[in-house]
């Protein structure tokens, strides 16, 4: 199969996280053994029969943490709206959402999602405001999430729903996913938990969750830029230092991994780094595989996402 070198490299690095995934998984066992299944949130009456012919009744807004969300004042716009669909919030945006008035009190269908196995997620659940609104928030967590995140969710009183991130071919006996699920079976969940495609990042996973579990369509994306503002200096980009280090501080060589993408829908340019480029490729692959009833609306008004089956719209127009 032909894939870009960058794609293969990151895919491999992702697989190398297996140690960390299993470390976290083991520590989460006591919590998820009798935990809630993400399927309890299903918007389908009979998944096998209706996933292709589903008639969506609700829409969803996925909230990512990309620069466009702040630039376009999207949190305030949403907060001031009478939107009655689902709020599907990436973990990074939970505290900013609550602080901007996007609360489960105003938007009762409120979800927050986490898949990142590293430490960085912990601080995203560490704020007093979460406890204040905890009753209405459903936290959708990967069984491989950092255990401290689970502890914080419990401390804050969030209702947790579990799933396994798909990491290998579960049809094979030696599959890690298969073994994970064998260990997850309990009286409450005799079949264990479903495995879910994540797209590699919580923003794309939130989009998958919105239609594949909640059965929502259209799904509007805000703050899911998968790119930086075109004028962002390379030095300010998270992964630039890693590339500089790998190429002995040769700026010219390291810079080649960062490219400008022209968003033909918005007629703007976005700056992409190898990681975002990988996620972007993955998303473009996934979006064309969705059932026909799924409408994906890019309401970011920025970023690098455009292509087949992605509709572009201003966020205010989506909320009308």
């Amino acid at each position: 199969m032909k894939q870009s070198k960058n794609f293969d490299l990151i895919q491999k690095n992702t697989s190398d996280l297996i140690d960390l995934w299993m470390y976290n998984f083991a520590r989460n066992i006591p919590d998820f053994l009798n935990g809630n299944n993400v399927k309890q949130l299903s918007g389908f009456k009979n998944v096998k029969l209706s996933i292709k012919n589903h008639r969506p009744k609700n829409s969803a807004v996925v909230i990512g943490g990309g620069p466009s969300v702040e630039k376009n004042n999207h949190l305030k716009i949403l907060s001031n709206s009478n939107y009655n669909g689902a709020i599907v919030c990436t973990d990074r945006m939970l505290i900013p959402c609550l602080k901007n008035g996007i609360t489960p009190k105003k938007f009762p269908k409120f979800y927050v999602l986490s898949i990142e196995p590293k430490d960085v997620t912990v601080k995203l659940y560490d704020d007093k405001i979460i406890k204040k609104y905890s009753k209405g928030i459903s936290a959708v967590l990967s069984t491989c999430i950092k255990h401290e995140v689970v502890e914080l969710c419990k401390k804050n009183g969030l209702k947790i729903f579990w799933f396994h991130p798909l990491i290998d071919d579960f049809r094979k006996l030696e599959s890690v996913n298969k073994i994970m699920n064998m260990m997850s079976k309990s009286d409450k969940n005799p079949k264990g938990f479903p495995g879910m495609q994540t797209g590699g990042n919580v923003g794309v996973f939130s989009w998958i969750f919105s239609w594949a579990i909640l059965g929502c369509s259209p799904v509007a994306l805000i703050g899911l830029d998968l790119g930086y503002h075109v004028d962002t200096p390379l030095e300010n980009i998270r992964h630039y230092r890693d590339y500089l280090k790998a190429y002995n501080n040769n700026k010219s060589k390291a810079g080649k991994f960062f490219k400008k993408i022209t968003n033909v829908d918005l007629k703007i340019k976005a700056l992409s780094d190898p990681i975002f480029d990988f996620y972007r490729e993955a998303f473009l692959d996934l979006v064309v595989r969705t059932p026909k009833w799924v409408r994906t609306i890019n309401a970011t008004e920025g970023g690098s996402l455009f292509g087949n089956r992605i509709e572009n719209m201003k966020f205010v127009d989506f909320l009308k």
Binding site: L166, I167, N181, G195, A282, F283
Partner: protein, 61 residues
Amino acid sequence: MPLTKANYKLPKHKKVEDKKTKKRQQRLEEERRRLAQRAGQGSFVVFREEGLEDVFVADDL
């Protein structure tokens, strides 16, 4: 010679391409090339396995 579809030559249109259009066209072609390259192959680890390309949620692991 009778005028048939096979021997009738359409007049050639002159293409006016400014730098901006050319660049945009190149970008679009690149996008199409990359999409074609990936056709049916999927993106994440699990998608590389034949038959799992369209799996978003797997109920029976």
